[in-house]
């Protein structure tokens, strides 16, 4: 992809463990981050998000695979593009006894940046008033802000932020969200945002990639992920309330009660590929639908389905298939897995 800031293909990374088999953190990861906007990077703990970021920044050496950042092969040509790259990896680390301003000053000097830039980024992250305090005295939120300031120091074209919302209070979260949105909308900067705060990702990101077990299981715009064809949930209300649930479950759908949906309560039927199938199944048993509403998925549901499905598939392939395996998501992920292999 010519207009991509990050291109990763077949990336593998495993870590040695004492007296145990190597732990595979990235298992043939393919990822493309297009230029511009904010790209969300989602995945459960241990899915390989931070390892990917560390490999991108040259902090870890990949076992195999190809990585390109702004056209430069990483890690070989990383120094050529590092000046256009800013990053915050997990909790920011600075010299604890030195002030925030001093720490940024050191980095600015190392990057041949003018001292005025330090004040600019301090202002940008709202830390100017406390910039003279020792880093060790900062709250976690202030440390995050300083880390973001360090990432923005060199006016980078690509900013990689790993959980920037960690430790921030609601006001701080809002400020960081605004800042990220602002950066992404400028056109100059692409932001790769790794976060477990799904509402934040949904509200800030233009595109999202979902990782599970070291692989990218879905990638696209947020709208595409939410509107994955055929697997929307349905709100169903029928005249014979309890019988309707039993029939739907017998037919293989996963059904749960919807709270606050009035009396009689309605059912949520998960991951329905064909709405007509629901009505016809119920009609065959002489149960008549009084209400059928397609439910808009949120990113959280989509994310949970994607990652859970992938984990189950991986377990199954490893001979650890759980006894119960139902739902379309699983079948779809199995298909994907089959294609990959």
């Amino acid at each position: 992809m010519p207009d991509a800031v990050i291109e990763i293909s077949g990336l593998r990374k495993s870590f040695r463990r004492r007296h145990r088999p190597r732990r595979v953190a990235l298992d043939g990861l393919d990822l493309v981050v297009p230029r511009g906007g904010v790209h969300g990077f989602l995945g459960p703990n241990g899915s390989g998000k931070t390892t990917t970021i560390r490999v991108l920044l040259g902090l870890c050496r990949p076992d195999s695979g190809r990585i390109r950042i702004m056209g430069a092969d990483v890690p070989r040509s990383l120094p050529a593009v590092i000046s256009e790259l800013g990053a915050l990896v997990e909790t920011p680390r600075f010299h604890p006894e030195s002030s925030g301003r001093f720490n940024l000053g050191l980095l600015a000097r190392a990057g041949d940046l003018p001292p005025t830039r330090v004040e600019e980024v301090l202002e940008l992250v709202g830390l100017r008033d406390r910039a003279g305090d020792a880093f060790s005295g900062y709250s976690l939120g202030m440390k995050q802000r300083l880390g973001i300031a360090a990432a923005l120091l060199g006016r980078p074209r690509l900013v990689i932020l790993d959980e920037p919302g960690n430790g921030l209070d609601p006001e701080g979260l809002r400020d960081v969200r605004d800042l990220i949105r602002q950066l992404g909308s400028q056109g100059h900067t692409t932001v790769l945002l790794s976060s477990h705060l799904l509402p934040e990702v949904q509200s800030v990101c233009d595109r999202v990639s979902v990782l599970a077990r070291g692989r990218c299981v879905a990638s696209g715009t947020v709208a595409e992920l939410l509107a994955a064809p055929g697997d929307a949930d349905l709100q169903v209300r029928a005249d014979r309330h309890d019988a309707a649930r039993a029939v739907l479950e017998d037919a293989g759908w996963q059904v749960s009660a919807m709270t606050g949906s009035g009396e009689p309560p309605s059912w949520r039927v998960h991951a329905v590929a064909d709405r007509a199938a629901v009505t016809s199944t119920l009609a065959e048993r002489r149960i008549y639908v009084t209400e059928l509403i397609p439910l808009q998925r949120d990113l959280e549901s989509a994310y949970l389905e994607l990652t859970a499905a992938h984990s189950e598939v991986a377990d199954a392939l490893a001979g650890q298939a759980p006894a119960e395996a139902r739902g379309r998501g699983r079948g779809r992920a199995q298909g994907e897995e089959g294609e990959r292999r």
């Binding site: 870590f15 390892t51 560390r54 920044l57 040259g58 902090l59 870890c60 050496r61 890690p75 990383l78 120094p79 590092i82 790259l85 800013g86 990053a87 990896v89 920011p92 680390r93 600075f94 010299h95 604890p96 006894e97 030195s98 980095l107 190392a110 990057g111 360090a150």
Partner: protein
């Protein structure tokens, strides 16, 4: 920099300690040398010489105190004439000793350079160790991903600081010695002794450099300052003692022995039990090997080169998780 406050404290202690301890030693241990004090000392020497002369006169004019003494002439049985000049230089009769550079300059310089070596080891290990332990290094590598460059910059800066410290110590002590000489002594240094002092300073600077790099390399390899200190103690206490007792022939290759040899002008002598016959045909039971300062310098340089290469190779490939 967690170590910054600690390093500042260390420097403060060194400077204040030096500024207090050295003048205190000067005032309490040495006498000021002035025409008046020299005249007083000369008078004390003359008085002592006069006492000796009186005793001699009494002895010469008095009777012998034993039958054995009576068989000798008075000149034979009495103490010899002892003029004041033969009682020793006039400085010996000052209330306290005189600062003589040939006696004090070298040993004190050696001691100070040993202390500096220990200090720079601590500084090197602490600096690199704290960067690795606190993961500040990650922030730095995001700015500068060329690890070799980071390695060279950090080690190089440390080497420059260590050399600066060694040169400062030599300069400060020689200046202090010159002041001491002016205030409390007499300059008896020959050109050869000056050359020897400069050479000692150079060898000491080399040891300080090796020590600083060793501290940094220890921290790079063990990933913490504590690890570097542990490695040093383990090497000096366990490895050297063990090899000294189990494989005594290898002593001349031990870092501790070579460090001592480097600092000593004539090197050090290591010995181990072994029977051999010398050129005269005498059976000897101990072998003595002189480890010269050049030998010490070369061995330490080779050892440091190997360690630096290992640390560099490890640093280049290490995953920073």
């Amino acid at each position: 920099m967690r170590s910054r406050r600690w390093l500042r404290l260390l420097t403060l202690f060194a400077v204040v300690g030096y500024l207090i301890v050295i003048p205190a030693i000067g005032v309490t241990q040495f006498s000021r040398v002035s025409p008046q004090t020299l005249a007083d000392a000369s008078a004390r020497r003359d008085a002592l010489a006069a006492q000796f002369a009186d005793r001699r006169e009494q002895c010469l004019s008095g009777p012998a105190r034993s039958a054995q003494a009576a068989r000798l002439t008075p000149e034979q049985r009495c103490p010899p004439r002892l003029p004041a000049e033969e009682l020793g230089p006039v400085e010996q009769f000052l209330p306290k000793q005189v600062f003589v550079p040939s006696e004090f300059l070298g040993p004190v310089l050696t001691a100070l350079l040993w202390l500096t070596s220990i200090a720079v080891f601590v500084v090197g290990a602490h600096w690199i160790g704290s960067d690795l332990a606190t993961r500040v290094i990650v922030t730095q590598l995001i700015q500068e991903p060329r690890r070799t460059r980071v390695f060279v910059a950090k080690t190089g800066l440390l080497a420059v600081v260590a050399l600066g410290a060694a040169v400062s110590v030599v300069a400060v002590w020689t200046t202090s010695a010159a002041l001491f000489t002016a205030a409390f002594g007499r300059n008896d240094l020959t050109v050869n002794q000056w050359v020897s002092t400069v050479a000692q300073g150079g060898r000491g600077a080399a040891l300080v450099l090796v020590s600083a790099v060793a501290g940094a390399i220890g921290a790079f390899l063990t990933r913490s300052a504590a690890g570097a200190f542990g490695a040093l103690v383990g090497e000096l206490v366990v490895v050297e003692l063990l090899i000294g007792s189990v494989l005594p022939r290898w002593q001349e290759w031990l870092p501790g022995v070579n460090a001592r040899a480097l600092m000593a002008q004539d090197g050090v002598i290591v010995s181990y039990p072994e029977e051999w016959i010398d050129l005269d045909g005498t059976l000897r039971d101990t072998v003595e090997v002189t480890v010269s300062s050049a030998h010490g310098g070369i061995v330490l340089a080779c050892l440091m080169t190997v360690l630096v290469m290992i640390a560099w190779a490890d640093w280049r490939r290490r995953d920073l998780t």
